[in-house]
Symmetry: C2
Subunit: 328 residues, 2 copies
């Protein structure tokens, strides 16, 4: 593990992206989004994902020249086609447009079809909150989550992001509909640890906290059992109906592909009066649930801590990944 | 348990509501919403709740003359004050307005402050879907759910509703952020049954499936542990920032009160082309997760079955409750 400054990393990524065919502005933004993900501790969708992203350009999955195209406007609700462009750029553009719509109408919604993996979903929540907007967005994905009552993956884990702007630090939830990602299961297994709570079924159909058993059965749990199962389904239906794009069942199930996804981006203008007072009151009350000061955390709190550390000490980078990137 | 026709019940409720001071039109709508909840199997927020609703009028919690007042409009996003009117009427009016906004702008959002319990939240999802709209709404409530990492209830279970219109029967999710409601815990305990999955903590801070232990500790679980805890917090923040009304921590914690709530109602216009094809494809694929035809259900499926039964055979009514109602 090495640490590099934000500038060194983002500049390095920018150069690779320029070589891969992006114009200067898009290369800068794309590199920045990857760097910010690692800066905020989301390494899996930051630098660790970058080599695979470049590979997706080489294999033609991601089109560096594509930009979202407006298909239909109903005023505050717009439908766009991502034309298989870079997922994080398409998503960033879509939230930018949703914010502009919200500035004009109070609320704005962009539904996006035919896009690629947006990398770190939270990015677009932080983006909205940085503009003083409430941001809500979600994506569908390939079938990777069995519904409650079933054994085969016919749902996506469909991550949902909700962000609220706050002067002292935004509050940003970024969560998938599975209790644990396959990445998390792998991490626990490699450390020889049990999950903190049950995370799926073993081969005999029993609930288990053993990460390896869940990887083997391919049956991770939706959050809240039947509840997250239902929520995942609804998110897929809404995103498909608004975008006119693929639903989970129409997305190729081969894991490395994960393309032609559908996403929704909503921005809402909060009432200005006493916003900080309300949010700080909510958080202060939240803390009182535990006698331990740090017993209860809010979504995004840990992100801000890691971000401060990354800025102070540099962003941690896996050496193997770094060597791969500079060789690109 | 008796069964009565929809007409007999709704007419009986209408008469009581007229006596309680509602004008004819509001009495009819309010009675219909209660009757529909029971018709669809949500007895707890249908007829079983009606005597308590009338009591709330008598104690001044619900103002029969109040109607929502527009406080601010930003175009497609409006903020209304419910002035402590009947919760179900305020909610119905708000979704009606959100639908009108969505007809004009593609998406519409009404944030409502100072309202009362909306009874069955799903009602406003079905309402939107009946108008061919996607409906999303949620409410906050009094502090009744400890956050992950805490022992005291500083979150609300903040029910969330997502509805999608479908010719063969809408798909409607209506779920609280707690894994089990206190009503459900009581039902399991009285039947001397364990919960199907862990539902909270016992007095020693261990996860348990024993409903009585959870009632005693006052520590039900949020869905997905830390995930539902975060989602509940975000729903509260968004609803408070949009409505300018109370957050959970500002709502009086005394259980019978549960007043001055904040709610959000969003309607979205789906793309018309191949809507049914997409939704039916999603549902058909969902079923393939289980070799058992009825292994996997979708949100709202059971509602439609119960509705058909209620229409065929009459709506089941608890005799005690019915006697209370006709004595009102």
């Amino acid at each position: 593990m090495k640490r590099f400054s934000f500038e060194v990393i983002s500049e390095t990524l920018r150069e690779v992206l320029t070589k891969s065919g992006f114009d200067d502005e898009r290369a800068e933004l794309c590199g920045r989004l990857f760097t910010e993900a690692s800066r905020d501790g989301v390494y899996s969708h930051g630098l660790n994902r970058f080599p695979r992203f470049i590979d997706a350009i080489k294999t033609g999955l991601v089109d560096v020249d594509a930009k979202p195209e407006l298909i239909q406007s109903l005023g505050a609700l717009e439908c766009w086609d991502g034309h298989s462009g870079a997922g994080n750029l398409n998503a960033y553009d879509s939230m930018t447009r949703a914010i502009a719509l919200a500035q004009a109408h109070g609320i704005g919604c962009v539904a996006l079809r035919n896009t690629n993996h947006w990398m770190r979903g939270g990015s677009y929540g932080w983006q909205a909150a940085d503009q003083g907007m409430i941001g809500i967005c979600w994506t569908n994905t390939l079938p990777n989550l069995p519904p409650w009552g079933g054994t085969k993956p016919t749902l996506g884990n469909n991550p949902l992001v909700i962000a609220v702007p706050r002067d002292e630090g935004h509050v940003v939830l970024d969560m998938a509909m599975s209790q644990f990602s396959f990445g998390a299961l792998e991490t626990y297994r490699k450390r020889d640890q049990q999950l903190p709570v049950v995370g799926g079924f073993d081969g005999k159909g029993q609930l288990t906290s053993d990460p390896g058993e869940i990887e083997a059965s391919g049956r991770p749990l939706p959050i809240g059992y039947w509840k997250g199962s239902g929520l995942s389904l609804m998110l897929d239906m809404v995103v498909a109906l608004l975008s006119g794009g693929n639903a989970v069942f129409q997305i190729p199930p081969e894991v490395p592909k994960e393309t032609k996804l559908s996403q929704v981006f909503i921005a809402l203008s909060p009432l200005k009066d006493d916003r900080e007072h309300t949010l700080n009151g909510i958080l202060a009350f939240l803390r009182t649930a535990s006698s331990d000061e740090s017993g209860v955390r809010y979504p995004g709190e840990r992100t801000l801590e890691i971000r401060r550390q990354s800025i102070d000490q540099g962003i941690p980078v896996d050496e193997d990944i770094w060597n791969q990137i500079i060789a690109l």
